[in-house]
Amino acid sequence: MNANVKRTIEEAVLPPLVALVVALIVGDLLILAYGQAPSAVWRLLVDGTWGNAYGFGQVLYKATTLTCTGLAVAMSLRAGLFNIGAEGQLAAGGFGAGVAGLALPAGTPAFLAVPICVMAAMLCGGLVGAVPGALRAKFGAHEVIVTIMLNFIVLALLNYFVSAKLHVPETLHTPEVHAGAMPRLSNLIGAFHGSAANWTIVIVALAAVAAWWFLFKTRAGYELRAVGLQPDAAEYAGVKVGITWRNALIVSGALAGLGGINFVLGYKGYYEDGFTGGAGFLGIAVALVGRNHPLGVVLAALFFATLSQGGLAINAMVPKQIVEALQGIVIIAVATSVPEVRRILRNAVSKSGGQN
């Protein structure tokens, strides 16, 4: 096996492995603290997620949103920027899709309504991403600070629109969309009955492929990665770094915004205040464990979605909040230990003669 392939496999396998091992160890401790048997809880978690069609459908549904926010964070990190505004961009995308679906007349055929709503979601997410992008390109404003602050601004703004302008009385959600709603997967596969898995998953899978194609097969993607690795060298080679940064954050925001259709068009049929529930922040974890690679992002999204759904499955035995703590620990462990473990592995290989 040549060294490059070996390194690629190590890059790809190590973070999820660390994530899994740490989740198991810390999870055991927390379960024992609650006075339950870890093995029984873990079995329940697996049975409730991958063990039956409903649970699996829920995992797919949650992974769909997380794939979008994970791709968004990964796209920005590939350009050397850290977009932690996916939460607000996701909400804005959902809002855009919900409003577009409301604006369309009832009975608009799906082949028109769905693309319009999807475009609206990506446009709104992209607009939110354009703010830190433009400020970075024009003034050198640090995108981490701008994206954090923008999260709060966007969520407050959407809360205002929904609570003051568009809501159904006594609720914090908009009326149901007239067109653009996405059918559930259970219409095709009966076993998914009751789960929220819907056709958004196909659109998001296409988006993941497109993100891969863009990053690794196009000139713009190559330039984006070059800027991420060495902005000065890229500038010297004639790449417009500021514009690349701006565009990367716009694309990043659009990807996060796309995730909004999963809830709004695929699940509820309306925009609801607070629907994001931290999926934007979890996108950081997804990108981290997925090594900023679209395929890795999809797999990492499945992992974190399994934990989220698994929390509900085990709630009878231990509080479901256990998985929120676990998700945090997993991120800390991966961010902290992966470089270290990799260094130790390298040393071990070179000591044993480096047979590669």
């Binding site: 640090h142 954090i148 923008l150 609570s163 945090g328 991120i331």
Partner: protein
């Protein structure tokens, strides 16, 4: 009377910001990103309620709350400084973790998913009672924390080291400053200080409620940035943000401006500040970088 009430209410709202921003200013000046303030505060709030509930003493609550802050700060410090992990990633993760673990222990200790039972606090309750206001030691500590941190950063040897480590770690190391140790101390102090903000919040309300810090740690971070990483300016920013909130609460009946727009003020001001539209807000040069 109205002015006095306004002032008292502003101080009351500002105290948690002042504690957290003091911690944030210290850690960021030492070059460590303070996205964690929110988590430290929430941990401090939960620790305070745990301690006060089991001991019936607010002082024990204070100590336990600070211990939670120190514990979380240790995690942040070890991964950021010892293992050179990405501080932003770990910061976000610590916030997620704290929300989860406080919910888990809320369930474990009090069997509730939303709030703890009532616990002992310092002095009087809520806004009412000027005596309670004046006898709450956390109010006095909160008012004094920023001048003290300013003095530490600007006038002491330790403060000089903090600044050196945050601007030029290599240069600091070459003259014998123990870079990592200074950063450890700064991050642990920021954990304790931000936790005090949470302690105040929880004991003031005499209970812990799920995610009760509600973004206050980020407002504190905004104050640090808006105050250009200077403790005194950051303290003034805290007061400014708190005054805006007080104004909003008092004008609520009049419905002049929707509350959401008032809530945006700190964040909008901070974005304007970092964009450098009116005077550039410049971060410590080595902020977020530990690869020295």
């Amino acid at each position: 009377m109205g002015a006095l009430l306004f002032f008292a209410q502003t101080i009351r709202i500002a105290i948690p910001y002042l504690f957290a921003a003091a911690g944030g200013a210290l850690a960021e000046r030492a070059g460590v990103v303070s996205l964690t303030l929110e988590g430290f505060m929430l941990g401090g709030a939960f620790g305070a309620v745990l301690g006060s509930y089991y001991s019936h003493s607010a002082w024990v609550g204070l100590v336990v709350g600070v211990a939670w802050g120190l514990g979380l700060a240790t995690v942040h410090a070890v991964s950021a400084i010892r293992f050179k992990a990405d501080q932003i990633v770990v910061g976000v993760a610590i916030n997620l973790f704290t929300v989860g673990i406080t919910r888990f222990f809320l369930q474990l200790a009090f069997g509730s998913s939303s709030n703890s039972p009532r616990v002992a606090g310092f002095g009087g309750e809520g806004v009412a009672g000027a005596v309670g206001f004046l006898t709450n030691p956390l109010i006095w500590m909160g008012v004094l924390v920023m001048p003290v941190v300013w003095w530490v950063v600007q006038k002491t040897t330790f403060g000089l080291r903090v600044r050196a480590v945050g601007e030029h770690p290599m240069a600091a190391a070459s003259v014998g400053v123990p870079v990592n140790r200074v950063r450890y101390v700064a991050v642990l102090a920021s954990g304790a200080l931000a936790a005090l903000g949470g302690v105040y919040l929880a004991l003031d309300q005499h209970q812990f409620t799920d995610s009760m810090t509600a973004g206050r740690g980020f407002i504190a971070l905004a104050a640090v940035i808006f105050g250009r990483w200077d403790p005194l300016r950051a303290g003034l920013a805290c007061l400014l943000f708190a005054a805006a909130e007080t104004l909003q609460i008092q004008l609520q009946a009049a419905q002049l401006i929707p509350s959401q727009f008032v809530a945006m003020i700190p964040y909008v001001l901070t974005i304007i500040a970092v964009a450098g539209v009116v005077g550039r807000s410049r971060a410590p040069a080595a902020l977020g970088r530990t690869e020295d």
